[in-house]
Amino acid sequence: MNRWLTWAVAGLILPVIQPALGQSGDLNLPRTVVAGTALSIPVAGSGQAVLYIAGPSQVIRREVMPGQPLSIAAEELNNAGHYVVALVTQSSTQVGQFDVVPSTQPASLSFLARPSRLPVGLQNSISGAVYVFDVFHNLITTPTAVSFQLSVPAGATQSRTVETRDGAAWTEMDSTPKEGNAKFVAQAGSISTTRVIQEVPGDPCGLKMSAHQVGDKVQLATDPLQDCSGNPVADGTIVTFTESWNGSQTSVDVPLKHGIAEAQVPAHDGANISVATGVVMGNEIHWESRE
């Protein structure tokens, strides 16, 4: 709403300012003003005058007394961008322009970390991008040092420092070999933001099962499942047991519980029993009754 109002007002005063740019004198203004700092504009001449300041998302109108400087308070010019100033009197129009630039002091960071969950041990698989803002939420476009740190509770910390370019800094990190919730911290000055990256076990490695008879059934159980880095595979992972015997097949998909998958299949002498999870195959057992 405010933005529409600003543009509407700017639309009304710009026709006044634009012709004025070609006539009368220029105002004595600084080229740049840091957002959030006060500004004093000297006003010369005589009689009543009106000063207009039009900038992004903001228009200021003041009646001024010539001969006295006009003060713009620190909290009035917050939005970074290009501003046009016009001092309109009964006899003349003076114009000027200045830029409001962001403060160089970071006040907040927008930190995009992707992905939020990934397998362990992948190179350059975690990306972090930071946008640095000042206290008025202006993007700080001057180069600013941003440090990135990725750490897991039981592992080495990866650190990198990157300078922002046009307000943004980005980096890539490796996922660690150890599973767990990694803290991904971006810091600029005294401001830091943290994201959590869930590093999860990779594909199971060395899937192995054992079998023993329970009544007329064969009790199958896997060894505790781990990935190739030694991390326990997540509970709930589906393990498929398949028994082939005499041209028929029995299969069951069971979820891993406490690291182990267990199932019972009918006991048939001469049956071949295999185990798999996802696209990973495990060992095969040729079942012969121990009786």
Partner: protein, 377 residues
């Protein structure tokens, strides 16, 4: 011009005659399908076929009481037992099915007793299923009555079955979170196998999808046929020919049909698997016992489903992946189970395999998708 007039009159007269005959003497199954009221279709049960036909018409019109009353052996079970046999004791596909068509085939007829084959084609939202009964029909005076072969569904006694399966819940990003704040990553899935085949119906894309993540995924697969000039010929999805819920490291087959398309027009196929987060439980676990490939003719995959959990599964959907000797995907079939799966109670299934492909099938892999009230909760 003049010579055509007698032919036109002949055709009109024949059409009118056929309409009159069809109206006065309709085929019972067709009349039932057309929604004609039962009373006008019922004939005196003066033959075994008429008795069975009358029973089927009553079933088609949900006239359960009249159907039960017409049975010769109704003293052996109650009307509720009869209803449970037809509609299921627990909510299942049968509960919501309507009788679409039926076939009556006499097998043997004596003076006082006859055998008749009754094939009931029930219609459901996921297609039709067939219920076949061999009926004994007995003579009682000048009328015949059907002795219904009641199939008693197993009953699970009231009990509490403790289960300790995992459950996953999802908390999404809230409206108050900054735009840069993380959301929960969608599950990572991957197509591990894909094979297009040309069938009479059109192009069929077969494949397998793996959930390579550590959380459950709700999955679907879309495919686009791309012509040689780069334009899209058609886009279709797997719809229900897939197991939509994939637990970690689980693999589902999928089948996507492009009616009327021809492989000769296709340059490439663009596959688009999608996955989203879903709250889910690792329960129930379904064992698929005694899977056997029956050769052609009537090639099929048969077996039994055993619900190893305590939860009653209302609708089970068996998906079969068929491979040739080299491990190449040959076909993906499916079969809905019309009865609920009760704990530890085997339920048979019979999944047809296209006859022309059956001779190439060497191995198979079956998975079961289950549905119960409350979705995937």
């Amino acid at each position: 011009m003049m010579r055509g007039l007698p032919l036109a009159f002949l055709l009109i007269a024949a059409t009118v005659a056929l309409i009159v005959i069809g109206t006065l003497y309709p085929v019972p199954a067709a009349a039932a399908y057309a929604g004609r009221t039962g009373a006008s279709l019922l004939h005196a049960s003066s033959t075994p076929e008429e008795a069975v036909n009358n029973l089927a018409v009553d079933l088609a019109h949900s006239e359960w009481q009249r159907a039960y009353s017409s049975l010769s052996n109704k003293g052996e079970f109650t009307e509720q037992d009869f209803l449970r046999d037809l509609r299921g004791s627990y909510p299942s596909l049968r509960t919501y099915a309507t009788l679409d068509t039926f076939e009556v085939r006499p097998l043997h007829a004596g003076d006082d007793e006859a055998q008749v084959h009754l094939i009931l084609h029930w219609s459901t939202v996921v297609g039709t299923f067939t219920d076949t009964r061999n009926l004994q029909v007995l003579r009682n005076g000048d009328r015949w009555a059907v002795a219904w072969p009641l199939v008693k569904e197993p009953h699970v006694p009231p009990q509490v079955i403790p289960v300790t399966y995992l459950r996953w819940d999802v908390i999404y990003r809230g409206p108050g979170d900054d735009w840069g704040a993380q959301d929960v990553e969608a599950p990572h899935v991957r197509i591990v196998d894909m094979h297009p085949v040309e069938r009479a119906v059109g192009v069929v894309v077969l494949g397998e999808l793996l959930n390579e993540d550590v959380i459950p995924a709700y999955v679907s697969v879309k495919a686009t046929l791309v012509a040689k000039n780069g334009s899209a010929i058609a886009t279709e999805s797997s719809f229900d020919k897939i197991s939509h819920l994939l637990l970690p490291k689980q693999v589902t087959p999928f089948r996507i049909t492009f009616p009327g398309a021809s492989l000769s027009e296709v340059d490439s196929i663009r596959m688009d698997p999608t996955s989203s987060l879903i709250s889910a439980s690792a329960d129930p676990v379904i064992e698929i016992q005694n899977q056997q490939l029956a050769p052609a003719p009537d090639a099929s995959l048969t077996g039994q489903l055993v619900n190893q959990s305590g939860q009653i599964v209302n609708i089970a959907h068996v998906l079969g992946t068929f491979y040739d000797k080299t491990g190449q995907l040959v076909w993906v079939g499916d079969e809905y189970i019309d009865r609920a799966l009760l704990p530890q109670t085997p339920v048979p299934f019979d999944m047809p395999i296209p006859q022309d492909l059956a001779r190439n099938v060497s191995t198979e892999r079956a998975v079961v998708a289950t549905y119960s009230p409350g979705g995937f909760q």
